[in-house]
Symmetry: C2
């Protein structure tokens, strides 16, 4: 037997745990609503595009080069113009394997161990994990109901400047912020941009949830508010169509793009996904997304009702502006890191707030609940189970004296 322990890189993350299927009540993972996967239209799109262009599978990158399948890039450029106020050409769009690859590429482009990166104090756990693994000094800035606080950002940037620190970028999720589910106003976006410009810091704008604002309309993206390369923009079809497709995109000018392409060493993202999406989206995206938003809104309501019924005032949350998750505050008596562990033993998976906040102690009062995948009854039963576990472990929610809950 080889002793691999002496061969592994010394800085590897801990070994993965074996996967044993999804838990029964699964409130984690960013999955989507299975009923809303447009299966028939995807089959038709696959048949049509493969019949027309299937032979091009014989070449790496189809006949579109390393940026990805050109018809999909053209669709995205058009969609960003219509929906996000971004003027860009297909040559400024890179297809990535999910927006996750966008995160990896931007980190690989800019972050050397010891570099400082500014993020929202509550933010996507996967972004935090990646930045820490890249050796970044991650600095969290508070949010308010309008997203990243410009006042707090200004203080942070000034303080850093005073200490001779220039952050590599400001990472923000303006539209359906993860985990708070707020939508940043256009005014706030301009304030953030102005601050970034003053301090010579790029903005890394993650708009992967932006198709899921309940009302449909989204504010202009920050990328659209500047004529130059100050904002690197990423988006995804994981939340709007299906996560397993692993198709996201990154928008940047050639200065940035030419360096990102040089480190994107994967021989291109999956061709079938790109071809099928391009074919599907041209005809069906706009109607599909309306249906999906309705279904998600309904599930958000079911989850909120269940939380109120089971936890009462003990669980505090804001009605989300869109998306697939709810950010819940529990009383100080509850340690959500521990709650997460014991709930999982009862088949209920939730994201502990500590993984979604730069201040992990404050995070121990929070949980994130994803609602897109479970059915309505599973949402209700799962919340009831969670309340039971929470009561047993932490004494809250207190049982209703009349026997109701």
């Amino acid at each position: 037997m080889l002793d691999y322990a002496t061969l592994f890189r010394p800085d590897l993350p801990p070994a993965a745990a074996r996967w044993n299927g999804f838990p029964r009540f699964n409130f984690v993972g960013g999955h989507n609503d299975a009923d809303c996967v447009p299966v028939e239209a995807l089959i038709a799109a696959a048949a049509k595009v493969l019949k027309r262009e299937g032979r091009s599978l014989a070449t790496y990158g189809l006949d579109s080069g390393p940026l990805g399948y050109r018809p999909l890039r053209e669709y995205i450029a058009g969609k960003l113009d219509r929906d996000a106020g971004i003027k860009c050409s297909a040559d400024q769009v890179l297809i990535t394997s999910g927006s996750l690859q966008g995160l990896d590429l931007v980190n690989a482009l800019l972050v050397t161990p010891g570099d400082t990166v500014v993020v929202e104090q509550m933010t996507y756990g996967g972004a935090l994990t990646r930045l820490k693994r890249a050796g970044a000094n991650v600095v969290g800035v508070p949010l308010d109901g309008d997203g990243l606080s410009s006042a707090a950002l200004e203080t942070t940037l000034k303080d850093m400047k005073g200490r001779g620190i220039r952050p590599k970028f400001i990472y923000t999720i303006p539209t359906v912020q993860n985990p708070t589910a707020t939508v940043m106003s256009e005014g706030r976006r301009r304030e953030i941009l102005a601050l970034a410009e003053n301090h010579g810091v790029p903005v890394f704008e993650d708009e992967c949830y932006s198709d899921l604002v309940w009302g449909g309309a989204r504010p202009q993206a920050m990328r659209g508010m500047t004529a130059d390369d100050r904002v690197i923009h990423i988006g995804s079809f994981s939340k709007s169509i299906a996560p397993a497709l692993r198709i996201g995109y990154l928008v940047a000018d050639w200065t940035v793009m030419s360096r990102i392409l040089a480190i994107k060493s994967d021989g291109g993202s999956g061709a079938l996904e790109q071809m099928v999406l391009a074919e599907f989206c041209r005809e069906h995206f706009d109607t599909h997304i309306v249906t999906l938003r309705k279904a998600l809104r309904r599930k958000a309501e079911v989850l909120m009702e269940a939380l109120t019924a089971q936890f009462g005032p003990v669980a505090a949350f804001d009605d989300p502006a869109g998306g697939i998750f709810l950010w819940v505050r529990l009383p100080d008596a509850v340690d959500t890191t521990r709650l997460t562990q014991v709930a999982l033993e009862s088949g209920v998976a939730v994201n502990p707030g500590a993984e979604w906040m730069t201040n992990t102690v404050a995070g121990q009062r929070r949980i994130r609940l994803c609602f897109a995948h479970p059915g309505e009854q599973v949402l209700r039963d799962g919340v009831a189970r969670l309340a039971e576990v929470c009561r047993r472990e932490f004494g809250v929610p207190v049982p209703d004296p009349k026997g109701h809950r």
Copy 2:
């Protein structure tokens, strides 16, 4: 304007060049035969599997977890048992985005800057690029007609041991070696394995061309010759079905796999490719591959005939045992790095040998010609054009005094 030059990581590779379409005579890139893409069967497979399981696209990893779509892993485990003499379970198979991701993952698992890695003196250029980028000290070992020389490997390993160096792994392409297109005998494989065992060094076995041995049968894989985790094995469907699908696989035990999974941060490989391949392969792989091998063999013959006709004895090469490329030696008068540049200006793309060898000076006498994608006439015309350029620049091949070439 942001000055990105001051923000980029200092160790980035050079910026990518803009892509302007494929050159007219394209002998690079590992593309496949477009006529052999089984378009109709892929369409049928897509319809069938999506109708049955399309809803599962709503979950990351389908319902199969982070190793990849289980039916594809089961198919691969069965195929490796039948074709490569590897006994493994579906839980020892990880689906990767092409075998390229396998290279990236193994490097990320084992290589710290300054580490030594042993490779074949002539080997895949992309592996060399990746290892150098990872900071490895890359040591090339000579090959003979049977692939990696065990005698030379023994000398190298002993010499390293004497200097207190334990390489992180031995990277080898045993079946249809890239670029020499030889197939390593089972005897040689056992010798290499014994040496690796004696020196406590893992073997990283890249079998991505192993389905393309002309006769069909391939030797047992080294992974199949040991009961333990000494060999990490990778393979691919890029060469046997279509490169744009980006589906490869990695075989390892849990000690290694659990660490690789922890660094595979992409949220899974493309689901459509995995689903469609699993569905297609069960029914059609074995007949498809016979057709493909015949078509590739025919193209190899056309290329060899064209080289003989245009270059005569000036171009030396061995008849390949399979695969999609020919490894050609030109006279000392020819600098193939320069030839590559001027040929490209005439629309002929070839791989300069210097990119495929650890000894870049020796590589300047070699070129690699990929023959799977161009049509027969393009192969002939491209070789004629290449001969013209070579004659103009280096005086060889000498024109036939009778006016023939």
